[in-house]
Subunit: 247 residues, 2 copies
DNA sequence: AAGGTACTTTGACCGAGATCAAGTGGAAAC
DNA sequence: GTTTCCACTTGATCTCGGTCAAAGTACCTT
């Protein structure tokens, strides 16, 4: 099998997990072993999927719903360090314990593989490691992009940046690439947004109100957002880059 | 070759790049091809090794010296998103352009491999991808740990955190694992520390003075630091975790 | 319809860190 | 020796976002 073929699962329309995951449907055509160690798990909104420090017995992908990766200090301060949207991979081949909490933010379904057999497959099936490397590099880029947001952006820019990446992830999932007004639902509470942005929920609320007053966004309800001009929003985010951002 | 053997280059004492890199010495014993595409490059302090957005023709490891990964906004605000110490890997197999500036902070030597042949080798030599995956996961953990620092820690905690990771990286390089006072040189200017911590250089200076006044550290000169009690420093950093931190 | 709960908004005030501005010290250059 | 330069320190003031508090809103259950 050529390298091209190995990376060419990007458009399997059958697959609920799409291109960024180790796709059960795609893999199964090549590797009946993967099918054997595959199983599904459901979680309710608010449920903790993995506790930081616990041994991890599985890896997998988000099929539907949204989860967060969160780090905490002992005094209670918390920082969300990643968002898991459908197609995102969870887990660390070669790692025994989870480095952070994984919490379902909505009802959520995961497609899991038992870790041990999965790791064995990585040895015998090289292109799995290569695809995981691709995905991990994407996540690393996203994490570093986010470091700029956390370290240097103002509260208003942080909010605009978060809205931008949510829109962008939505766009890649729904393939609705068009100019003109964009409508979407916020998958996160104000508190969760604050955790992601290194702010307080009050500041998040105030800045959203300010963006609304300045007509950068419109709110049909507290969670339902319209962006009349995406270019304007990205300006507010202080973003020149229109690529990147894959959290 | 077994999985264990594949990951067992961790203690090659000959190799200047040590365990986290694709080690030219180690690999050469198995793969004369790697030797063929290997070459060394030297840089002076302050020199930019890679410009953000430029095409990248090589990957490689830091042999000696220190470099930074930096992201910038168009208005000049910058955020350092990673430190490259000896043994760290630079470059993205499968990526065409560099996502951030790489700048030598001290005089620096890199061991490089031309990217194209390196990528071809990744296909034929599975365990290279597996080792790169390991390393990338380490970097991702470090980046996310740093997101907590940037998003939630106070200026004083940020400084203590930075000193902690420098000490820790120093320790793994010099294998000087002992309790008692620790002495080391700051490889970064106050401005570079500020860039890493999302602060201004004035705040960095003030907080270092404060830590000195409170006898958490001693300064023999502006860059030469003594830490009488490492536990105290980590307390100041707000760190419970004594693992992790591999930036 | 009434009450409860969780989420959100808004206001008043405060403080950590940014900004602006001098001043210091030490090493290299002349 | 002294001049220059650069990294660093310290001071004064301001501002953005945090903190504390209260009120508003939507969605439950009863």
């Amino acid at each position: 099998m050529t390298l091209k073929a190995q990376f060419d699962h990007t458009n399997c329309s059958e697959c609920p997990i799409r291109h960024r995951a180790v796709c059960a449907h795609c893999e199964a055509n090549e590797l009946e072993e993967l099918e054997k160690i595959k199983y599904y798990r459901s979680f309710e909104a608010g449920q903790t999927i993995i506790w930081s420090g616990d041994p991890m017995s599985f890896v997998g992908s988000v099929v539907s719903g949204i989860a967060s990766l969160t780090q905490a200090m002992e005094d209670g301060r918390t920082q969300m360090v990643g968002l898991l949207l459908p197609s995102d991979f969870v887990g660390r081949p070669g790692r025994d314990t989870a480095p952070y909490d994984v919490v379902a933010k909505t009802d959520l379904v995961m497609c899991c593989f038992r870790k041990k057999p999965f790791e064995e497959m990585m040895v015998t099936t090289p292109h799995i490691a290569q695809r995981l490397l691709e995905m991990t590099l994407d996540e690393l880029d996203a994490a570093r992009e986010w470091m700029l947001v956390l370290g240097r952006k103002t509260a208003r820019e942080k909010i605009a940046s978060l809205l931008s990446i949510i829109v962008r992830r939505d766009a890649t999932l729904h393939a609705s690439s068009a100019s003109g007004p964009i409508v979407f639902d916020l998958p996160l509470s104000r508190e969760a947004m604050a955790d992601y942005l290194g702010l307080t929920l009050e500041t998040v609320s105030r800045q959203i109100s300010a963006l609304k007053k300045d007509q950068v966004i419109t709110l049909e309800s507290k969670r339902h957002v319209t962006v009349p001009d995406m270019g304007r929003l990205m300006e507010e985010a202080g973003d020149d880059t229109d690529g990147g951002f894959l959290i």
